[in-house]
Amino acid sequence: MSGTAIVGIAELPPRRSTPGTTTLELLAKVAVAAVADAGLDHLQIDGLVCGPQVGETPQHVPATVAEYLGLRPRYAGMVDLGGATAAAMVWRAGAAIAAGMCTTVLCLLANSRDPAAPRRSPNRNPIREFDVPYGASGANQAYAMVAQRHMADFGTTTEQLMCVPVKERENAQLNPDAVFHGRTITLEDVRRSPMVMAPLHQLEMVMPCGGGAALVVTSAERARDLAHPLVAMLGAGEAVTHRALSQAPSLTTSPLAAAIDQAYRQAAIGPNDLDLLAAYDCYSILLPITVEDAGLCDKGEGGPWVAEHDFSIASRLPINPHGGQLACGQADLSGGMGHVVEAVRQLRGAAGARQVPNAELALVTGNGATFSEEVALVLAAGER
């Protein structure tokens, strides 16, 4: 990694107390100074690495910081290695640049301190301050608002959205590990399930579960000597645009479009080359927007497309043969890893009764917050 250089530095003078300031405000001050020191414009920052912010922003830290700074990074992460965090950020930034994920990374740390305040202050990030007072806690309302706008702009119907969990449940009947194995549903079941946030019904939302998932990643060279057929990562893309839905650049085109585009380009493939789509699916509305942003249909056509498309392993493009999170259940963050695991299983040819015939190329998507933090991977059977 001799190609990595540190070109900008800044510090805020340490003070015993910084009363009334938030960590976000301090991060903004030091970010401005560091980028000025580098002689760069902030628009040239396309990577962001942050540290944990206990008591202020418990989750989605990079997206919260990026939004606060008006940044839209193509690589964003958090390092949580205590006193080694800063040094760890530097080589990770270099690795992200070497991998072609971004060109210029801002590594940011700050700490607000008020000895008079409670040791663990309540969350006080922008969502907590500006959205929660209106009864807008959690993710359901945000996805409902994305769905509502898609329906208003393109005529997407509730029936088209409701068919997503129906089709994923059908797929899950070949997955004995799915929480809804043995329990198919109909459109009528979805319609009759409680309305949670209009237009989304309970059966259009993931069921929270316990569980876990893991992956082992190595070099292609080392992979050749190991037990399973090689599954290669051909391309990756990442895009973070906002945290609060009010700050999203668009409600109907997600940052997945940019992430998938980069992954396709790195892999030198296009949507017509795919044999499998492992699409992140915490809510029904994810599928129409994902297939649009993946170039499988035009923008606005995702509703009819998912209604007409065959999700099963007999399809020309199977979607989530394991049932996705809507039918498997969502074991918090590991639910998203389930899509990666399923893609690898299929590309190994080891999916048993639900094996997709001749699966060679898969697109895997990951989605965080509300279409805020998006990642796409192109995986392939064997080396190219």
Partner: protein, 139 residues
């Protein structure tokens, strides 16, 4: 009988010295946005820097509070139990005529009647309904 049902309280309002003027104005029915002195950009929510040009030179400007519904939903099952007696209620994101957007509630109408692109205005002190400041109603 008073059970846990009664004990779930609405989360306490949080603010910082930087954002306090926004909430002080809100309590009087006034909506403030931040203006960047260097590039002229207007922004909500208020922050320490202009999210367009990173200038730290920001001032407050009062706006009328007219806008359109960018998107909307009706909460039937609230995300926080303190709102369970308030359902159904409308959560919406309003795009002000000046540009910035904020999440709010649309009140004074059937929550299911609120639609994308509908014109709304800030609830004035005289329109008083209990609840947080800076809510909107149909024009």
């Amino acid at each position: 009988m008073s059970g846990e049902h009664d004990e779930v309280r609405v989360p306490q309002r949080v603010s910082t010295p930087l954002t306090a003027p926004y909430w002080e104005a809100a309590e009087k029915g006034n909506l403030l946005v931040q203006v960047c002195i260097d590039c002229g950009r207007l922004q909500l929510y208020p922050g320490a820097v202009c999210r367009g040009c990173w200038s730290e030179h920001l001032r407050w400007r009062s706006v009328e509070g007219s806008g359109t519904v960018w998107t909307t939903t009706v909460a039937e099952v609230p995300g926080h139990p303190a709102w369970r007696d308030a359902v159904p209620y409308c959560i919406a994101i309003v795009e002000l005529d000046e540009g910035p957007r904020l999440l709010t509630n649309i009140v004074g109408c059937d929550p299911y009647a609120v639609g994308v692109r509908q014109r709304v205005r800030l609830v004035r002190a005289g329109d008083h309904e209990p609840g947080p400041p800076l809510r909107f109603m149909p024009c």
